[in-house]
């Protein structure tokens, strides 16, 4: 704390110092860390809802069959290994000797139970690609998919396993307050909006984590979060405000840790003949018009001016190392900013005078989203594409832009693919609508391309992951040429911590105390 190294302390501070020093002495052997989060979790029950703070807690308390590294590599979790029995059947060998925090043994029955439980919950999407599940014996589970699906294990990394006996006894509502998993940490105390304390689970199958006690504190206001770090009340904070980066860096006691996130901010263009906010025929049915729009948007300028350099212009629709990413292909290089060329393209397409439409965007979902929308409007004005801004909070936004898109021509939103696979995203965003159940459900631009559909069908019916990657790469190339959507930038995650804290920033934004250490 700051007053420890100051001579000018006050009487009150002196008292506090003794308390702190005494506490420090008794805990000398125990490693503890306090983390300032942007919000309190809503849930500790993984089937009750998803949002970042809750997700962070889920992965401390529970485990999935498949684990996910900070770099999004998938590996053994509660399942030690898995193999394909046939094209649609997977056999998972479960880890032996794993217990839940209450001492119950983890068995195949718990997996079966969790799958069925998820299906009836508010999160059936977690098991959307599971047709059936059965326990072969206590430590073997067989899962079938409706069709060959090479990336099933990636999906299962999000399905956190519940203890059947305990969950049934406790009931869904109480599971939020009394979670029970096999994870590296157990819940010690949760005082809502105040603090959530976890203690290490000594019998964790992966070995006890280095840090014994983790305290999460919700500090919504970014300036207060910075202050709490500066005063030593917390060791680590999430989402350091952009304007505070220099202040924190200026002191030796602290470190700033950044990494590009998975969240790709994108601009979806309507490709229907008739678009809700455009008079007459929709110009964006023409690829040349879409290319003109892409060429008018200067992502480097947005990054520099609006995002203070804390964004990474996106090369494609999914990040590098994802299935479907084509090495060496960059949207910015294919369509560099060129106003003259853009105007030519528009004229060629028959719109020398441009046109007018509405841009729908949020003001509380993405970093500086409303400012980005304003920047887009002024950039597109240069090629006479006039944007009327329609900006709203996210609670209205998702309903407003819902498919079938009755209100929108141009939508700014964001996408991330925590499964490390472009397939689910492409299937949802670019598959022709109403053609196949579970596909094209968020195809807000009503993009339709038979070649694309066929490639996604092929990708989704091969059990061979290398083949899947090939098909998805083909799909990426089509999208990059056809431009139904403009990839803009990945947001950057910014953390700050006191020196001596080792924090591994995860690509999925989860803060994980079990991958952390303090000196």
């Amino acid at each position: 704390m700051k007053y420890l190294n100051r001579n000018t302390w006050r009487i009150g501070a002196l008292g506090a110092t003794f308390v702190v020093a005494a506490a420090g002495a008794t805990l000398a052997q125990e490693k503890a860390v306090t983390i300032g989060l942007t919000s309190d979790p809503s849930h500790l029950y993984p089937l009750a809802g998803e949002e970042l703070s809750s997700n962070i807690m889920y992965y401390h308390l529970y485990d999935a069959l498949v684990s996910r590294s900070p770099e999004l590599e998938f590996g053994p979790g509660l399942a030690e290994s898995w193999e394909n029995v046939d094209d649609v059947t997977w056999r998972f060998k479960l880890r032996e000797g794993v217990t839940f925090h209450n001492g119950n043994a983890f068995t195949a029955a718990d997996v079966v139970y969790t799958v069925e439980k998820a299906r009836a919950s508010i999160r059936p999407d977690l098991v959307a690609n599971v047709a059936s599940v059965k326990a072969v014996d206590d430590l073997t589970v067989e899962i079938t998919t409706p069709k060959p699906y090479a990336v099933l294990p990636n999906d299962l990394a999000e399905l956190l396993i519940l203890d059947e006996e305990y969950t049934e006894q406790t009931g869904d509502e109480k599971m939020d307050l009394k979670p029970m998993g096999t994870g590296p940490y157990m819940l010690k105390e949760w005082i809502k909006e105040e603090k959530l304390v976890l203690t290490a689970f000594g019998d964790y199958w992966g070995g006890a984590p280095a840090i014994q006690t983790v305290t999460f504190r919700p500090i919504t206001n970014p300036a207060t979060r910075t202050a709490a770090l500066l005063t030593g009340e917390v060791d680590v904070i999430q989402d350091l405000a952009v304007r505070d980066v220099d202040r924190v860096k200026s002191e030796d006691r602290f470190q700033v840790i950044t990494r590009p996130s998975l969240l790709n901010v994108v601009l979806a263009m309507d490709t229907r003949e008739k678009s809700p906010t455009i008079e007459g025929k929709n110009p964006m049915t023409d690829q040349r018009v879409r290319e003109a729009i892409a060429r008018a948007i200067d992502m480097d300028a947005i990054n520099k001016i609006v995002m203070n350099g804390l964004a990474t212009p996106s090369a494609q629709f999914v990040p590098e190392a994802h299935l479907g990413f084509v090495d060496g292909m960059d949207f910015r290089e294919m369509y560099p900013v060129d106003i003259e060329k853009a105007k030519e393209l528009l004229a060629d397409a028959g719109y020398p005078d441009g046109f007018t439409m509405t841009l729908d965007a949020t003001n509380n979902r993405y970093v500086n989203d409303a400012q980005i929308a304003q920047a887009l409007a002024s950039m597109l004005a240069k090629i006479n594409v006039n944007l009327e801004l329609n900006i709203m909070p996210k609670s209205n936004f998702w309903g407003y832009i819902r498919v079938p898109t009755e209100n929108s021509s141009l939508i700014m939103s964001g996408w991330d693919v925590p499964s490390g696979d472009a397939g689910s995203m492409y299937g949802a965003l670019f598959y022709s609508r109403d053609k196949k159940e579970g596909y094209g459900q968020v195809n807000r631009g009503s993009y339709s391309n038979a070649e694309m559909d066929a490639l996604l069908d092929k990708a989704d019916s091969t059990p061979d992951i290398a083949k899947r990657d090939e098909y998805l790469q083909e799909a990426t190339k089509i999208l990059m040429a056809d431009i139904p959507m403009i990839p803009m930038h990945y947001e950057q995650d910014v953390y700050a911590a006191r020196k001596g804290v080792t924090l591994v920033p995860r690509v999925d934004k989860f803060i994980s105390a079990f991958e952390m250490d303090v000196d």
Partner: protein, 321 residues
């Protein structure tokens, strides 16, 4: 008196009913809660399932009717987001807000009344003018700015007080209270001061205006002439008569602070119910917002009733009918 109570009770029920209708109907325009709980690429079937689980598949009228009938059975509905009883969520956070508001109000009174009396009795003194300028600042500086400045000075720079949070609490009658621990007091000072400044300034100015008004009355001069001390004249004769409007404003301010301590709570990460309201509005969590506003309505009605009672104590000529 009994008739008066009955009248107030009926009034209160009417107010609550109107609040529930208005809020319920208004909230249906402010976003669809189902999109706040399903993943962004959810299929229609998944959205429909979530809607059914949350009970949002019914028409608004049916939803309201269900809400009202369960309300009469003492069930205030479940939060869509937290899936917990809305009333529990609010009551969990109520003590934190109440204790912060109480400390702020006590601070406000302790400083505002004597300073106001002084400034009213000596309207042209240099100190009075300083007090009045100070009170103008108190009224015009926005709470979030004051909060940030206090954090910067007292927490970051001098390390006297913590920047955020509520500190240690102890259980009293089943409620978690921080005012019984030293650490709790340590934490409450900055937020309470921030919250109290505006109210302090208003009470101070009301007191001063009242004192200046009664200062011109004959009975004040008379009291002084008959030999009462200046202090007695000011506080016993003057203040009592100047106090009626101050009490009215005090009541309104108290309700205001409880209901809308939101900004202070957000800045200091104080785990009160104001933050819950803001989060709920963001997430279109209708049941929580409705119950919250109904609770606030109750608080306002009760405070106004108490204010009326206080009138009769201060001025025996006022009776409740």
């Amino acid at each position: 008196m009994f008739g008066y109570l009955l009248k107030r009770l009926i009034q209160m029920l009417l107010v609550l009913w109107v609040v529930s209708v208005v809020v319920f109907m208004m909230m249906s325009f402010t976003g669809d809660p189902v999109f706040m709980v399903v993943p962004i690429d959810a299929t229609d079937a998944e959205i429909a399932q979530a809607r059914r689980i949350l009970g949002l598949d019914q028409s608004l009228i049916v939803q309201y009717w269900k809400f009202l009938t369960s309300l009469l059975q003492g069930d205030f509905g479940h939060s869509y987001v937290f899936r917990q009883p809305a009333m529990t969520l609010i009551l969990e956070r109520l003590p934190a807000t109440v204790e912060m508001v109480l400390v702020a109000m006590v601070l406000a009174i302790v400083f505002a009344i004597p300073l106001g009396v002084y400034a009213g009795a000596n309207p042209n003194g240099r100190l009075s003018r300083a007090i009045m300028s100070g009170s103008l600042l108190g009224i015009s500086l926005p709470g979030f700015w004051v909060g940030m400045v206090l954090i910067y000075l007292f927490a970051v720079n001098w390390g006297i007080f913590p920047s955020s949070g509520r500190g240690d609490t102890a259980e009293v009658f089943g409620f978690r209270i921080s005012l019984v621990t030293w650490d709790g007091w340590h934490h409450i000072v900055l937020p309470a001061v921030t919250l109290s400044l505006g109210t302090m300034a208003i009470l101070l100015r009301m007191t001063r205006a009242g004192m200046m008004e009664v200062g011109r009355q004959d009975y004040m001069k008379f009291a002084r002439a008959k030999g009462a001390t200046r202090r007695d004249v000011l506080y016993k004769h003057g203040l009592k008569n100047a106090l009626i409007p101050v009490v009215t404003i005090f009541g309104l301010q108290l309700g205001d602070l409880i209901a809308f301590a939101t900004i202070t709570e957000t800045i200091f990460s104080w785990p009160g119910m104001g933050k819950l309201l803001i989060d709920s509005i963001y997430r279109a969590d209708r049941p929580v917002i409705v119950v919250y506003l109904m609770l606030v309505a109750v608080i306002f009605v009760v405070i106004n009733f108490l204010v009326d009672l206080v009138y009769t104590l201060i001025d025996p000529r006022i009776t409740l009918k």
